[in-house]
């Protein structure tokens, strides 16, 4: 008998066969979908872990957002641009295009301008008060865009717009209005001219140093009626620049060159820099806390899945032996059980994500904070559950491949 057979199947006999990814998923799904109750219980740990992760990072992001909002209101995201002084001590005025150029920069949320104010003898309720009696009320010049940028609020009336900026009207700070006893619609007397009271502020925002106790005049009116009184009339005194959240440093960096390209070294920048520092600090601590708490819960969930997989591999020794007898390679068996662990974990992860988002919304609603669900948490949650599943399933899966086919088949 000739042992070197010409059997046509022979060439093929030793060729390892591929198990397609889809078929591999199919084998992994047997354990995941075949026993939903076991899967649900095993996934619970990871679900709670991911839920905790998402809920905690979201909740901390919410309270962080709240703090940031508060800090920003205080001026953490503020940079004030003003004219610098040249070698002789004279002010180097900013070009008139500066506010518009700054507004076009990325990361800039709003821009507002205060102009140099005219020199006046006083602000009075009546023209009969002698000018030697000062009212303690000074005058400031503002453009319409200043209102938003400084974060002011109105008690009554209105702020300047494109029409009223050129009219003999004034917006009074809360203090000025109280001292004068003036209401919206009343007239006040400044340097031989009656001004109608357009609005009364309740809060001067970050410009309280300039606006508190002031009667504010529109910039166009000042330019037209006080021209030539001094060199600053019609020039920019301060540009209030508000940055988008977290962008204040970026914005600040290029600001001098944008504001005055010709002589950027004669630009004065100021702002509440220690407030900005506080903002950067809260960023870190709260996020780290959320991640740490979620990570611990996830670790517990991973141990739960590892536990389940150890039991599964023991329970299904018969199936493992059968698959080996059907021609499965050890690696294909391992992939099946790792896949199963990942499947269970991923189901937990997705359930946890939904749970966590709901919890985060409820927490935000209860505490009255803004609802913030970090995009990273939505991506990282399920991704993390996949990693946890893979790690949890690895050791039991390797154990499954160490089983000899005969031993596995004998175990019933």
């Amino acid at each position: 008998m000739n042992e070197a057979s010409l059997n046509p199947r022979r060439d093929d006999l030793l060729r390892p066969r591929r198990l397609s990814f889809r078929d591999l998923l199919g084998t992994a799904w047997i354990g995941v979908g075949g026993r939903p109750q076991r899967t649900a219980l095993a996934a619970l740990g990871v679900a709670l872990g991911i839920a905790a992760l998402v809920a905690l990072t979201s909740a901390s992001a919410s309270s962080q957002q709240q703090i940031l909002n508060d800090l920003d209101a205080l001026g953490a995201n503020l940079v004030i641009v003003g004219p610098g002084n040249d070698a002789t001590g004279d002010a180097v005025f900013l070009p008139q295009f500066a506010p518009e150029a700054i507004a076009r920069q990325p990361g800039v949320r709003s821009v507002g301008v205060l102009d140099y104010f005219p020199l006046v003898s006083g602000v009075y309720r009546s023209d009969l008060v002698p000018i030697t009696e000062t009212s303690g009320i000074h005058v400031t010049t503002a453009r319409p865009d200043a209102f938003e940028a400084i974060g002011a609020t109105l008690a009554r009336g209105r702020w300047f717009d494109d029409v009223t900026r050129a009219l003999p009207v004034t917006v009074l700070s809360a203090i000025a209005a109280a001292r004068l006893g003036a209401q919206v619609g009343d007239n006040v007397y400044i340097d031989g001219q009656w001004y109608g009271v357009l609005g009364i502020l309740s809060d001067s925002g970050v410009a309280s140093g300039r606006l508190d106790g002031a009667a504010i005049l529109g910039d166009a009116w000042v330019r037209d009626n006080f021209a030539g009184q001094h060199s600053g009339i019609g020039e920019i005194q301060e540009i209030y620049v508000r940055a988008e959240p977290g962008m204040v440093d970026t914005v600040r960096e290029g600001l001098a060159r944008v504001a005055n390209p010709a002589t950027p070294h004669f630009v004065a920048l100021s702002g509440a820099s220690n407030l900005a520092d506080a903002r950067a600090l809260t960023d870190d601590t709260l996020a780290t806390l959320g991640l740490a708490l979620g990570g611990i819960s996830l670790l517990v969930g991973g141990v739960g899945i590892a536990n389940t997989m150890v039991v599964t591999v023991l329970e299904r020794r018969g199936e493992i032996g059968l698959r080996r007898a059907l021609g499965a390679r050890p690696g294909q068996i391992a992939a099946q059980f790792v896949g199963e662990a990942i499947g269970i974990s991923l189901i937990g992860g997705l359930a946890g994500l939904i749970l966590g988002v709901i919890a985060a919304i409820v927490i935000a609603l209860i505490t009255g904070q803004p609802i913030v669900i970090p995009f990273a948490a939505i991506v990282v949650g399920p991704l993390l559950s996949v990693i946890v599943g893979a790690i949890a399933g690895l050791q039991p899966a390797i154990k499954a491949t160490r089983l000899s086919p005969t031993t596995a088949l004998r175990a019933i």
């Binding site: 008998m1 059997n7 060729r15 078929d23 088949l409």
Partner: protein, 245 residues
């Protein structure tokens, strides 16, 4: 039979000793050839080493010494990857305990027989239905193992082994979990497989079942002897049994 036909499986001087303590030799040096289309029964009392011999023939387990040839290839020195490929392409198994996956339907269980052979999902499904119909279960395609009788479950397991069109089918006590009438039908089914060219090797401790097969190899305390049966006109293909103590 063409002259160049190699044995589908051949073992030469294989022994098996389970490492102790104390070491236990359960198979004495045994040589055996299984030819295409052979019908072989391995008969012997419990503990005589039947399952051990079958595992070695089916390259599920390594012999302690000796060599195993599949279609003339010495597989004793092959890597696990290649041995797995041989199992997938060449060998079918049927077990006493069926080993069906309880959460899968009959068709899914049978198509598992082709899962590791590189056959596409559609093709597996088509051939699984065919194989189930061939064993008389065309009306039980979507049933799960728990919804079927023992005999039906074993027929699903046989369909799973046959769907691969193996060169050789090994069955270890395939009727052990069945009543005698059901077992009878299963034995008939297995004996018929050989008519299609697939060699069949059945392990049993039942003389009556063994008598349905053309060759009978008796095992006793790890010593194999083959009773030569003159009626077999394939005498040139029958095994040479060399049993030594």
């Amino acid at each position: 039979m063409p002259d160049n036909t190699a044995p589908v499986i051949e073992v030469r001087e294989v022994t098996k000793t389970y490492p102790g303590p104390p070491p236990l030799t359960v198979l004495q040096p045994t040589s055996l050839k299984i030819m295409p289309g052979d019908q072989v029964a391995i008969l012997g009392p419990s503990g005589s080493g039947k399952s051990t011999l079958l595992s070695i023939l089916g390259i599920l387990d390594d012999p302690t010494s000796g060599n195993v040839f599949v279609d003339g290839i010495d597989v004793t020195s092959l890597a696990e990857k290649q041995r797995s490929a041989i199992r997938a392409a060449w060998i079918g198994f049927v077990f006493q305990q069926f080993h069906l996956i309880p959460t899968q339907s009959a068709v899914q269980n049978v198509s598992n027989g082709l899962l590791y052979s590189g056959v596409t999902y559609r093709e597996r499904n088509r051939r699984a239905k065919e194989a189930l119909t061939a064993v008389g279960l065309g009306h039980r395609l979507t049933h799960r193992p728990g919804q079927m009788s023992g005999g039906e479950q074993q027929r699903v397991a046989i369909a799973r082994a046959l769907v691969r069109e193996p060169a050789v089918l090994f069955a270890d006590e395939p009727t052990g979990a069945l009543d005698s009438a059901t077992g009878e039908a299963i034995v008939g089914l297995l004996a018929g497989v050989a008519d299609r060219g697939t060699a069949v090797v059945v392990v049993t401790h039942n003389e009556e079942i063994a008598s349905r097969f053309r060759r009978i190899i008796r095992l006793h305390d790890g010593v194999a002897t083959e009773a030569y049966r003159g009626t077999d006109n394939k005498s040139d293909a029958t095994a040479v049994i060399e049993a030594a103590a």
